[in-house]
Amino acid sequence: MMLYRRRRFANSVVMTLSVVATVIGLGWLVLVLGALLWNGFGSLSVAVFTEMTPPPGSAGGLLNPIVGSLMMSGVAVAIGTPIGILAGTYMAEYGRYSMLTSVVRFINDILLSAPSIVVGLFIYEVVVRPLGHFSGIAGSLALAVLVVPVVVRTTEDMLLTVPKELREAATALGLPRSHVIANVSYRAARAGIVTGILLAVARISGETAPLLFTALNNQFFSADMTQPLASLPVVIFQFAMSPYPDWQKLAWAGALIITFAVLALSISARALSATRTNS
């Protein structure tokens, strides 16, 4: 009976601990989001979206970094997505059992979680240093390097779930392999591939480290990709670390915008993959 009671006791201790851990863990995360909403909404205004970044001590907004971020993310996706989808296609369609595929998969998984600041150094060495100046295009390339692994991973996974009977049926009709892939595999996996792209955009929209010394920053409005370009994360970093309350408020507003963008992207990615599994 003693033994039984001791076992029951040990069980309830651990179970209580796990509930406590969950409450603390989730509570902590709620605290972070709560502080973000509180400070972010307090600093949000129309001016944030319509005015340029101000000099210290005066009012202003975040228009130029928002535009800069959108441009750089757009170019990064335009460069990274085709490479990612094509590489995923090779891995799932042509070389499914080849040695190269397992090597690429392994390396890709490592790139997926490699420190992004190292990617910034890489682009600095191969683009910024030879050209002699920082530029928006260098920032885009750094982000593109981060897009590729995400898209490769999801494309491969999604193409692998396409039933092989579909491919066999199309092949039996005499379609060449590339047409089978374009008209059957891609069509069947479309929602999943788009999900991957959305996740990649979510991933890069908050990235700061790779932009610090590729796109640098720009206090003025610029749409010139060959010049230094402001981006939301870098401006948040600069403004938050500054001693000026005006700048710090804008940093909170920017942080709120990024969080909303990232959450919206990941929730729509989730909804998209849910509709796919239902139908």
Binding site: R7, V14, M15, L17, S18, A21, T22, I24, G25, L26, L29, V32, N39, L86, A87, Y90, Y94, G95, L100, V104, F106, I107, I110, L111, S113, A114, P115, S116, I117, V118, L121, F122, E125, V148, P176, R177, S178, H179, I181, A182, N183, L199, A202, R203, G206, T208, A209, L212, F213, L216, P233, I236, F237, A240, M241, A251, T259, V262, L263, I267
Partner: protein
């Protein structure tokens, strides 16, 4: 293009030479598409190779100038151009260690709650919430740490720790000095919050993959939930959870923005966890654009190389272990 080729087909069948030409064109498209996808797959390897080559090339001047001293000295003097990486390496390891000692038990306990205890209707919402939180950019945690968490620690936890451990012989050095708010301990705690969702969601996935038959058999013998977990789930999931932990460690080691905000960027090795310090990534983020002179820049790139090598090894082990558990589950 593709549809065009197909729509042409019926008309082309009529004459054999047309048909041959069409087949030739299809074969050409087919072959070039295959080559393009092959090139894209290889480009993933090229990116990794490029990163390694570029970092080594950039780090070469510093490594030639300082040799192995770069790894074993902690001086960091931009004026006299003497650089050593020991302080950032130390800071990176200590902050990650703090993060993992907190995040791993919490993550495993939360994962256990989600797979064994949590009522069904609550599982999906909590699981989704954790996955969404894993996607929040690190700069958000950084700004929160700087404006909310560091002042809070400065006024509550840190004075309490100093009072508590002040009289204890060894622990007093660990918590010596004034409470700055920012510092190694704060950075470690922020990293713990960041890594927690990763550890939790991978552990949960692995726990859920344990075949129910095994658990039911143990329950049938009269085991308590904890005993089932301890003697059935954990042994089955050990490799996978280790992989998840290593993946989280890889994140913590390379994490830049969350740490840069709160570490204080001081190039020294202090016994106290309350003192400001620096990590490899924080040093690069703070100093790279301001670095004057080739040797300074090169030393920062060399730091990046060290970081890349460390995380590469950690992530490679993580992936290897996760691959093993995937094969086991089938």
């Amino acid at each position: 293009m593709v549809d065009l080729a197909l729509r042409d087909a019926p008309a082309a069948v009529s004459s054999p030479p047309d048909r041959l030409r069409l087949l030739g064109r299809l074969r050409l498209i087919d072959g070039s598409f295959r080559t393009i996808t092959f090139a894209a797959a290889v480009s993933v390897l090229v990116i990794l190779g490029g990163v390694i080559v570029a970092l080594i090339e950039g780090a070469l001047p510093a490594l030639q100038a300082f040799g192995l001293d770069f790894l074993t000295t902690s001086r960091w003097n931009p004026v006299t151009e003497k650089f050593g990486a020991l302080a950032p390496i130390y800071g990176t390891l200590v902050t990650s260690l703090i993060a993992m000692t907190i995040a791993v038990p919490f993550g495993i306990l939360i994962a256990m709650f989600l797979t064994e205890l949590c009522p069904m209707w609550l599982r999906r919402p909590i699981g989704i919430a954790i996955e969404l939180l894993a996607g929040i950019p690190s700069i958000i945690y950084g700004i929160w740490g700087l404006f909310v968490f560091a002042p809070f620690l400065q006024h509550t936890l840190q004075p309490a720790l100093i009072d508590l451990f002040g009289p204890v012989p060894i622990l007093s050095t660990l918590f010596a000095g004034p409470p700055y708010g920012i510092g190694v301990l704060t950075a470690g705690l922020i990293l713990a919050i960041m890594v927690l969702p990763f550890v939790t969601s991978i552990s949960r996935d692995v726990f859920e993959a344990v075949p129910p038959v095994l658990k039911e058999a143990a329950y049938g013998l009269g085991c308590t939930t904890w005993e089932v977990f301890r003697h059935v789930v954990i042994p089955f999931a050990r490799v996978g959870v280790t992989g998840g932990v290593m993946l989280g460690l890889g994140r913590a080691l390379g994490e830049t923005m969350a740490v840069t905000f709160v570490i204080g960027n001081a190039h020294r090795i202090s016994g106290s966890l309350l003192a400001p310090g620096t990590t490899i990534s924080a040093t690069i983020a703070n100093e790279f654009t301001e670095a004057l002179g080739d040797l300074y820049t090169s030393s920062l790139v060399a730091l990046g190389l060290i970081l890349f090598v460390i995380t590469f090894v950690v992530l490679a082990i993580a992936r290897y272990m996760l691959m093993r558990i995937e094969r086991k589950i089938g």
